[in-house]
């Protein structure tokens, strides 16, 4: 069955302590390749049937209204896997 992927990230202007802690831990391991880390979510929605435009639109709506909290997060992608 087809899958729609929804990606959600914390808003860039807001604090992401988990990302910051992860970046700190990576630096502690001696790697200086990455200067920052941000951690968001990745949803896989299994579609019961075909992926039509209507299904994609519904996924987009769900992503914005339910899977993310628009006050603190952005939906960065809604796409067919």
């Amino acid at each position: 069955m087809p899958t729609i992927v929804v990606e959600v990230m914390p808003k860039p202007e807001l604090l992401d302590p988990a990302g910051k802690a992860t970046a700190g831990a990576i630096a502690k391991q001696g790697s200086s390749t990455f200067s920052a880390v941000r951690i968001g979510k990745r949803f896989e929605l299994t579609v019961d049937g075909e992926v039509t435009d209507a299904v994609l639109a519904e996924a987009q709506r769900l992503a914005e209204e339910f899977l993310s909290n628009q006050v603190i997060e952005d939906v960065v992608a809604v796409k067919v896997a």
Binding site: K11, L14, P17, A18, A21, N69, V71, I72
Partner: protein, 234 residues
Amino acid sequence: MAVRIGVVTFPGSLDDRDAQRAVRLAGGEAVALWHGDHELQGVDAIVLPGGFSYGDYLRCGAIAAHSPIMSEVISAANAGMPVLGICNGFQILVESQLLPGGLIRNDHGDFICRDQRLRVENASTAWTSQFEAGDEIVIPLKNGEGGYIATDETLDRLEGEGLVAFRYLDVNPNGSLRDIAGLTNERGNVVGLMPHPEHATEPGFGPDTPDAMRSGVDGLRFFQSAIESVLARV
């Protein structure tokens, strides 16, 4: 006539019976409300209790914010009914956008349970009228996702309009911006905070005080305030 305060039970609510006990200890009548109903049973005020509604799985409070009773709670709150969100209840209020900003994972990553000192910043809300602004109180705090965040603009507005209701003292236990522990809406009827006033209402089962072990009852005044504010309206 006893003031009727409803306590909503969502699947995964944990401190609901404790909130009911606190209401009774404050002299009110506790009314159990069910997440799946659209019925507020004529209550005068509402508590959204602590816990892990729906496992807090998507985001804390997110799934509960979409449950049937919340549409009634939101209308009642907009009509001026006193609503208190404690911990998970605060998260539900934020997810319902009755209060601004967001609550995220504690900055240190762990769940934390401690007796927390707070300053009451706003004593003119429905849930804080029995305090004086500047009062320092101790009530238990226990959460994994209590870090308060909002944009600088929002934070400045909250400060400017006096909407920060409580601030952490001594230790900021979760990385909350500007040490914010709780908020009120402009009207002062909707209040949310991460620490648990209902766990500081019965001597012997609250936080330690200099006087005696587990004797702290600073939380009682939240519920007494609500009762007073309901009685003042009728």
